[in-house]
Amino acid sequence: MILASVGEDFFRAILQGTPSGTVFALVALGFVLTYKTSGVFNLAFGAQAYISAALYFHAVNQWGWSTVPALLLSVFAVAPAIGLVLERTMFRRLRTASAVAKLVVAIGLNVALPAIFELAVRYEPVAGRTPTGIVPNGASVFYDPFGIYPFSRDELAQMAVALCGALLLAALFRFTSIGLSMRAVVESPRMTEMAGIRADWVSAFAWALSSAFAGMAGVLIAPRFNTLIAPDFFYLVVVAIAAAAIGRLVSLPRALAGGLLLGWGTAVFNTFAPDWAESFTFLEPLTDNITPAIPFIVLFGILVLWPAIRRLREANDPMAGVDPPPPAPPDYKRHPYLTMGIRAFTLSFLIILGWVVFTQADVRWLFLVTQAVVLSIVYLSITVITGFAGQISLCQGAFAAIGGFTVFQMADRWDVPVLLAAVAGAFVAAAVGGLLSIPVLRLGGVWLALATLAFAYFFDAVVVKFPWVGGGETSLFQGTRIPRPHLGPLDFNDDKAFLVLALIVLVVVSSLVIQLREGTIGRTLRVLRGSEVAAESIGISPAKARVAAFAVSAFIAGLGGAMLSMHQENVNYPNNFAPATALFWLVLVVSLSARTVEGAIQAGAAFSLFPPIILNGTILAWILRAEERVPGIFPVSPKWRFVLFGLAAVQYARHPEGMLEFSKRRSISRLDARLFEKYPHAGHAKLRRARRGEPAARPEAVAEESES
């Protein structure tokens, strides 16, 4: 009897998991298709799915279109067009870029594309307005073919469309010449090139096709979300990656199977987990929240337990291996007077800025400036891990949140002084970061980034929900309150006093980061970034240096997160530290400059001050001396920052030192040349030759010198 009922439950779970499994499979198919034909790990897939879904929804609801034209527009016209544009304008030029660079580009797009779309069609997500599916009354009419699980019409539509998509792809591969070419590119790109097939055309077609798949999947999955917002769709793409990873990223049928397995696995888990939770009550928050996290756990598990997948990371691009990108202009060669001049200018600028803030700013501006300072601390963690170590970590938000939550818990439960708790929080974050880095370090590159992303979502969906982390239900009503610190007679409830404290912490952390950069760790990491095999050949063990980098980075993030929580007197996890926010942090820092301390500080300022100062037109009003003279386009939508910084991050492949840093170096070297041409100093002439790509000196001249 029990067995029979378990069997029935199991069967029901399978049926229940099939619709979402088919949609996952659809995305996974598209994902593997682009990966195999162009070597790009398209994390912007989520954004593309979102655009199609939102456009469809908008066309039906706002413009009153009927289903078919709306579908034609969103899935069959706009989605492939976006794919084509991306391939032609961006990914094609990235063929020779490193896997990490491609990843950053995709993340930049993931931030920029939804904002561009929303600005273009004036779409605003409205909370609680559930998107409509492609069939009428999709969520309210049910069919029950097996008598145990009623399928909604939406679910049936999902399965039918996904099936059609898979069949279409199979037919395309089997019967058409472009399909044959694609299959050839997938199997062996070099042979394909030799056989005279233009791999770039094939890849363009594959991009258009897979983008249509992403769009279709987006439209199909949309009715599952309460509100149509972009971050939810980023979740979808990670699910697809998990499905693709189950299929080892090698073949389309395996990706399909992976998607189905993931859908079924989730449903089976949902069915049986409550029974297990009854026996182990401490797991209760797990079973409540783990469902959305299952794909991430699966992905994380696959990456960690099956490290052979990283070997595929070089299974790359048909056209790779020509024309590496030009090196960045080095920044350590300039006239000492110029360096002094720049320092004097920066210092006086900072002094004036400080004076303005401390004497003129009202409560609101003080809040924003302090936030900028505190965020700069957090961003220095990205400087360490991404700038110095060259690794993309997407879980810096989770580390920062660990710092914040530690302060909250320690202050709330044991009345520990908050400053002490902040330091403790930083150490907890460092421990978590160090531990996390050990299993994922072997992965490297894209896989490391994905593993950290999986961890970020796991933290978001599961860990935060535990009472001993996020405070459980009480925090829902009271928030995760944190008092401002006291230190003897100093009371940091005063905003100016807290700003001073934040500045002190920033200065301390900055000088620490500079010391690391100039010291053994920083040099070791730089050298590892340059060439791992060569670093090993002189006795450097990469893992040790990288664990240290992860732990330091997590420490700084934890400290910054604790400061941010103190500043806002609340941890405020969803607004401050959610995975999507942390993604934007990365985009900000790499687009400004990931390798310098100034870059992190500029990113902090950009996050909190760019919208109120620039986008609101405040600075323009100040320049024009009158609010009424400010043009009507102000205030500009804050979404523009996503567009601007997202598109700046897209330049990462060409300028890994950061767009702002690049233009800064360029203008400084021009200035240097103009000012000091008359009084050349060592290195000038050689540098100019190096920039033109000419050899610096005759090698035999050097060799002869050594002989004499």
């Binding site: 040099r523 060569a534 090993e536 050949s537 190096a690 050899p695 000196a697 090698p699």
Partner: protein, 256 residues
């Protein structure tokens, strides 16, 4: 006999293709040994087995009498095996000096984490002097502070040699150092290497293609063909061996 490096009975196959079969090679301290063979003879595979990049299917590598099986690349480097690369591997966006400095820091082992934190991680005068000595020896002092991207290939090779030598290796493995260089450059490199070796006294294993360089530079030579050792002995004898000539030097003779 027991040499500095003893590789005994090394075999390695990839997906059914036998890349190396029972290769035995030894290098004595301070000796210059050559390993030659046509393309695809298994030179690079053998090299990687020595360095720990690949694990041999059979056979063992002993260095200074110690079994190196399972010892990772970086530990072998610290034990005293230095190397250069066929396709030059330099650290982008750093200076020439920094290439040598980091090797020196790893060698002297003074790079504790806490020292970085309190600002003691910067180069110390003694370390700077050692690096400058080496740069001087290699004739690289004039370009010490240049970005590495500004160097020519020949200079890059020398930087690689200098970087490897900063670890005080007892054995230096040179992976086709002449590739990409013209004759004049190769001769200059050989002269520099000879001078440095005379001063520092380390053994060299030269994996090469360029017979002239091997004939000129090494005292002892091994010849690989299709994954097996076909000859070994003093360089002049080996290069006169009819079997070696038949399998490999036929073209050389025709050229000459």
């Amino acid at each position: 006999m027991s040499g500095l490096l003893e590789a005994t009975g090394i075999s390695k196959s990839f997906a059914g293709i036998q890349a190396l079969q029972d290769v035995t090679l030894s290098v004595d301290a301070q000796q210059r040994t050559g390993l030659i063979g046509p393309n695809g003879a298994g030179k690079t595979t053998f090299f990687n087995c020595l360095l720990g990049v690949l694990a041999p299917d059979e056979g063992e590598v002993r260095f200074k009498g110690q079994d190196m099986g399972g010892v990772p690349v970086s530990h072998r480097a610290r034990a005293g095996i230095g190397r250069t690369f066929q396709r030059i591997e330099l650290f982008d966006e750093t200076s020439v000096f920094e290439h040598l400095f980091i090797a020196e820091r790893v060698r002297n082992g003074s790079g504790a984490f806490w020292k970085d934190l309190v600002g003691l991680g910067r180069p110390k005068p003694a370390e700077i002097n050692r690096c400058r000595e080496m740069l001087d020896l290699l004739g690289l002092l004039p370009v010490a502070d240049e970005p590495i991207e500004a160097l020519s290939l020949g200079q890059g090779r020398l930087v690689e040699v200098g970087r490897a030598l900063m670890t005080n290796p007892e054995l230096l493995l040179l992976d086709e150092p002449s590739s990409g260089l013209d004759r004049k450059e190769t001769a200059a490199l050989a002269a520099t290497l000879r001078a440095v070796q005379a001063e520092r006294g380390f053994a060299i294993l030269l994996v090469e293609h360029d017979i002239e360089l091997v004939a000129d530079f090494t005292e002892h030579t091994y010849v690989l063909d299709f994954g097996t050792l076909i000859a070994s002995g003093p360089t002049s004898e080996v290069l006169d061996d009819p079997e070696v000539r038949a399998s490999y030097l036929g073209t050389f003779e025709a050229e000459a």
